[in-house]
Symmetry: C2
Subunit: 695 residues, 2 copies
């Protein structure tokens, strides 16, 4: 579908200009400079030629077929131009012009107008208010963009709504000497969307890794589903900006609450195995490693260095990123002994010392490549003036070309010295990813490892519990909706919970003190009594809750008292429930998220949620693995195992409960908000003891 | 004292070599290449000249005076060479040779030998096993080092024990185009120490900021005191590696426990206002800002950009680093309206849009410079091909040269394009610190702001409490030492606490049940009874503690029972204390730290310390401000204010308690460990209810 956009056989420039540095001129120059292999057709009402190429007065006059048009004319003229594109049979248009939806109502009207025309003619629109695309394929060399960096062919494809960030990513990759495959920055994105572009990159055989910059998604569900399929095939490295309230405001996007848009984007990345970054430099440097290195099979790193300090820095960063720096095996150490200088340190890090030459590096590299307890290799290589640095670089290159284990190199040199430029070129030619700073090199290797972990993490399918009564739950909600109630009654809530097999502490709803006593006798003392009345929202604050009632007398007195104090609010009913002391308080919450489904939250109740905000979110449906991650993901996870001699709680029951909640939310998308607070967890089960549903 | 080292008037090279790329050759070449202005005297037993300079057979033959010698000869010959230095009247020697204390006993013996000789002759030794120094002063140009980067003169001075990291910092500064003033990497540091070098940099008028890389200090107290004085005068940017256990192992330094060496170094940085970094790239980029920019007066940043996305990224980072991005004042917005393009966003960030030229940038910069609610300025400037980028750069340069408010620039361009090289040169010439990545630029500005906060934070002097009875406390410890007890008895501990005015819950020590009842009647019920016997260490686990005893009968039964069960351990005494339920449990701990004094720890007791490890450390003596920071520094600090309707605790009483503990530790340095666990805190006071002191 996007082939005319990314693989144009001929390009027309509507708004081609003879004025140097104008966009209508720069784009033609860029196509020429980059070496576009197809015909270029400038459209200009008066100039006979632009940039030395014959110009046409209109699209209709072009003799050959055209599949892509650049539109660089004032906004009000764009609808007419799109119509002429359609008449010419053009299949895609990049609208660089601005002045549309980003400028308010009138602009938006214009945008809708040409979009309708495009749909009619089957034209795919890119932009408006955008940069464009680049395809570095040597057979095509399409630079349909007004930027100024000309990427070498490569394996990284980039997509960024923001042209500014897209441009700086492109520049950063180029500064690192890494090629790029495809590039797209689509501005207002009125038609061709980020998910579509990601899908296209996923199908592109030459793209090995994808860089994505976004400030949020207009249709997060579409992104989730498209990117999930692509992410299964190749790594997606992504950065989401607008993470802070003020950043989000700067991005003019919705600010979001605790469970707002921002959390959702990060949760989408997590759910589908996209590697998240919060630093654009780190992301680009990681991409350099992805472009040439395999994914490590595990987190055990072997370190070689010819200088001490940088390896210490690297070890700190690697360990901090979850790497293990294991002791080398006896046989590895023996092998090293036979080849290394006596001053060398044969630990991990292996310090071959500053005077080490090619042979010492070769042997150390071979030992790490062969050692079965090492998954990947980190090298610090400073170009000591008194050694044959080219020989060392060649040994690193040879080891890298064996391709057995991923490696990165912290290459410390003076770039401006001719002698070391040659050394650097050897590393470059062999595609060893190298970095001037040890922390940067370590973080790039860590990105490979984290992606390996994401690949090995199979979240599985959500459990489908049998015997749930969706019809019953749906009919309760339907009835409430009919009656105009957005907050369900306690009876409704507990009935829905029970329909989904969610364990609830024994309960009954009664109207009188006598009925309450009878209910308590059935349920068994101690009990809790809560007033149940649509007009009373904050029961607890109103004195509408009494806990730990141990006798019939206590139940009776409580209800008489509540009737006296609260009777004026309306007809009171009472919720009588088993009182469950001594358990661990948990909380599960859920909120509908625009276009995406529900976010589910889990945490410990009380101060843990209120003061520590120690909660974990996931996107429903939540699988067994994900529910387990919610339990282990809170900072206070050890409390679930029991501390200070207490018994731990039944974690499998909590995981089951989270998944049942997830199924309930997925089946009943009209639920806007749901809380279970608290849930009481014990060594042998969990019980929801208070719940709230808003539709 | 270090003048002959950093300002040598003449340099001898002992071990000068005609062999290219050998260290004895490289050092002479470096002096020549860099343009050393004094005489160079190669010492070589056979060659008549080295690198075209007349060589001498021995130091004695040198005709003129020499104040600095490089020693580059095999280890066993070094002691003799140092003696000859002494005889020649040389005042400082850089020993590049290796093979000393880093190689074990024999090497260490050699090192001690020449160190003694040097002391005798008054020679200051630098190294051994080191790189050397650099002084970029144009009048001197001393490159006494075998590295390969030749720094331009500048205002940053660097010190790093590790030559590898020193070299990469030097290279990174050079890559950023920033000059350096002094450089020192002193390897084994047998004589000239890091603190001395820091003090020298502090006194050097041209040094504006200091970069320090360390893996720990051999004498942390000396460092603390020296660096504190320097840090009061100029910023010290520091990185400590070996932060992880494996990193520390790689640095061959002591691993340390929870309160080990590692924490101490960071605490020293905090105490004396050194700016800590964990990423060497970030540190060097920050130094670039320190070299030219003033320190912001506050955290309110104004942002100007000509492209959207990068400013969103910057906003996220700035806000994440504690900046405020305030709304601009009405009058500022009015001023902007009159000059900016209609499409510009007149918020903060100010988006002047891609087509903005010099005038738009100028006006936006002026508005931020004049706005009293803005303390510093962040600029994103992408070199849009269709604008006069030189004019924009000139406006930024002019605004920067007004020097009124600190600014950094995220400059997005293609370095390889000639046209933009000129733009970049304009920024460079005006000393605007600029960075390719918005996150990097934002972090550099943030370092300036954090340093401003450190400067404004006056920790003050520790409170000296009157009326403490140091003699009494000391005599108790003396007595225990005499008796060979390293763990003090409960009576000792509480008597010491009381001698320092530390509030303790009412207590008595008794021998019989009858005495216990009498004590309880005096103290008032409820009480706690704890067995007090030197042979019983873990009282609680042994059933030697009974809480909340409310009657004489309960006290009697408890003591009878303990006597029965535990009497076989030895003569039992009983500690009877007021039981204080319902308070907030706190913990204060302290441990002696090698050469430094004591580290003091504060946290909430129970699971907060055990599970969450939510504690804050400081170095004693602790001031009022620091004690307050300990309270606000725990993650659960809000619990001290009271949550869920509870009353908060008496924070001033806790601050007082921490300071009294600090004074006790400072007065009695023989205390190795101390714990108060728990301390019970109430709205109107705090009480230590269990304590332990080890000497």
């Amino acid at each position: 579908m996007l082939s005319p956009l990314f693989n144009p056989k001929a390009i027309a420039i509507v708004g081609a200009s003879t004025k140097e540095l104008s966009i209508g001129n720069v784009i033609i120059r860029n196509l020429q400079t980059y070496g576009y292999t197809g015909p270029i057709y400038p459209i200009n009402p008066s100039a006979p030629e632009v940039c030395g190429i014959k110009a046409y007065k209109s699209l209709a006059e072009i003799p050959g077929e055209v599949d892509l048009a650049h539109i660089i004319i004032p906004a009000p003229m764009v609808p007419q131009a799109i119509m002429e594109c359609g008449q010419k049979g053009i299949k895609a248009a990049i609208i660089n012009s601005a002045g549309f939806s980003e400028m308010g109502e009138e602009g938006d009207r214009l945008q809708q107008e040409f979009l309708a025309t495009a749909k009619e003619y089957g034209i795919r629109l890119f932009g408006p208010n955008c940069q464009g695309i680049i395809n570095s394929d040597p057979a095509l060399k399409a630079y349909c963009n007004f930027t100024f960096t000309y990427p070498e062919p490569g394996y990284i494809s980039v997509v960024a709504l923001s042209g500014g960030v897209g441009g700086l990513i492109m520049q950063a990759l180029d500064d690192l000497g890494i090629g790029q495959r495809l590039y797209a920055s689509n501005g207002n994105a009125c038609d061709v969307s980020i998910p579509e572009i990601i899908r296209y990159y996923g199908d592109d055989a030459e793209t090995r890794a994808i860089i994505l910059y976004t400030e949020g998604f207009s249709n997060p569900r579409e992104f989730l589903e498209t990117a999930r399929a692509v992410s299964a095939k190749k790594p997606i490295l992504a950065m989401k900006a607008g993470r802070t309230e003020q950043g989000a405001k700067a991005a003019s996007s919705h600010t979001g609450s605790l469970a707002g848009v921002d959390i959702a984007t990060e949760l989408i990345f997590e759910k589908i195995g996209i590697l998240p970054f919060s630093d654009e430099g780190e992301m680009v440097r990681a991409a350099m490693a992805f472009a040439s290195q395999p994914i490590p099979k595990g987190n055990r790193v072997g370190i070689i260095t010819n200088t001490g300090g940088p390896a210490v820095i690297a070890t700190d960063v690697l360990v901090g990123c979850g790497f293990d720096v294991p002791k080398l095996s006896e046989s590895s150490i023996e092998k090293l002994k036979s080849t290394q200088y006596p001053e060398a340190a044969l630990e991990n890090p292996i310090d071959v010392i500053a005077t080490a030459g090619g042979p010492q590096f070769r042997d150390a590299l071979n030992v790490l490549l062969e050692d079965e307890d090492i998954d990947c290799i980190y090298i610090t290589f400073v170009t000591a003036p008194f050694t044959d640095t080219d020989a060392v670089a060649r040994e690193i290159a040879v080891a890298n070309q064996r391709g057995k284990k991923p490696m990165v190199c912290n290459f410390i040199t003076r770039v401006r010295m001719e002698r070391f430029q040659k050394t650097m070129q050897i590393l470059k030619d062999s595609n060893v990813p190298f970095y001037a700073n040890p922390s940067d090199a370590a973080k790039a290797l860590s990105a490979l490892n984290k992606f390996g972990e994401l690949k090995r993490r199979d979240i599985g399918q959500p459990t489908q519990f049998a015997g749930v009564d969706t019809a019953k739950a749906a009919s309760i909600i339907e009835q409430a909706k009919k009656e105009g109630r957005s907050v369900l009654s306690a009876t409704d809530v507990y009935t829905i919970f029970e329909a989904y097999g969610i364990p609830v502490a024994g309960w009954q709803v009664v109207a009188t003190a006598a009925e309450a006593v009878a209910a308590a006798e059935t349920i068994g003392y101690p009990v809790v009594v809560k007033v149940d009345c649509a007009e009373i929202d904050h029961k607890s604050d109103m004195g509408g809750v009494a806990i730990n009632l141990k006798t019939a007398e206590a139940v009776r007195t409580t209800i008489d008292d509540m009737q006296k104090r609260l009777g004026s609010f309306g007809e009171l009913r009472y919720f009588v429930q088993k009182f469950l002391p001594g358990g661990r308080e948990l909380i599960i919450g859920a909120a509908a998220e625009r276009e995406l489904g529900h976010l589910v939250m889990f945490g410990l109740g009380g101060i843990y949620v209120e003061v520590l905000k120690d909660v974990v979110f996931k996107i429903a449906p939540v699988t067994h693995l994900e529910a387990g991650e919610m339990l282990s993901g809170i900072k206070t996870a050890t409390l679930l195992d029991g501390v200070r001699g207490e018994q731990g709680v039944d974690k499998e029951a909590i995981i089951n409960l989270i998944q049942r909640v997830s199924q309930l939310l997925t089946d009943l998308p009209m639920i806007q908000e749901m809380d279970m607070n608290p849930i009481m967890a014990f060594a042998d089960g969990v019980f929801a003891v208070d719940g709230r549903i808003r539709i």
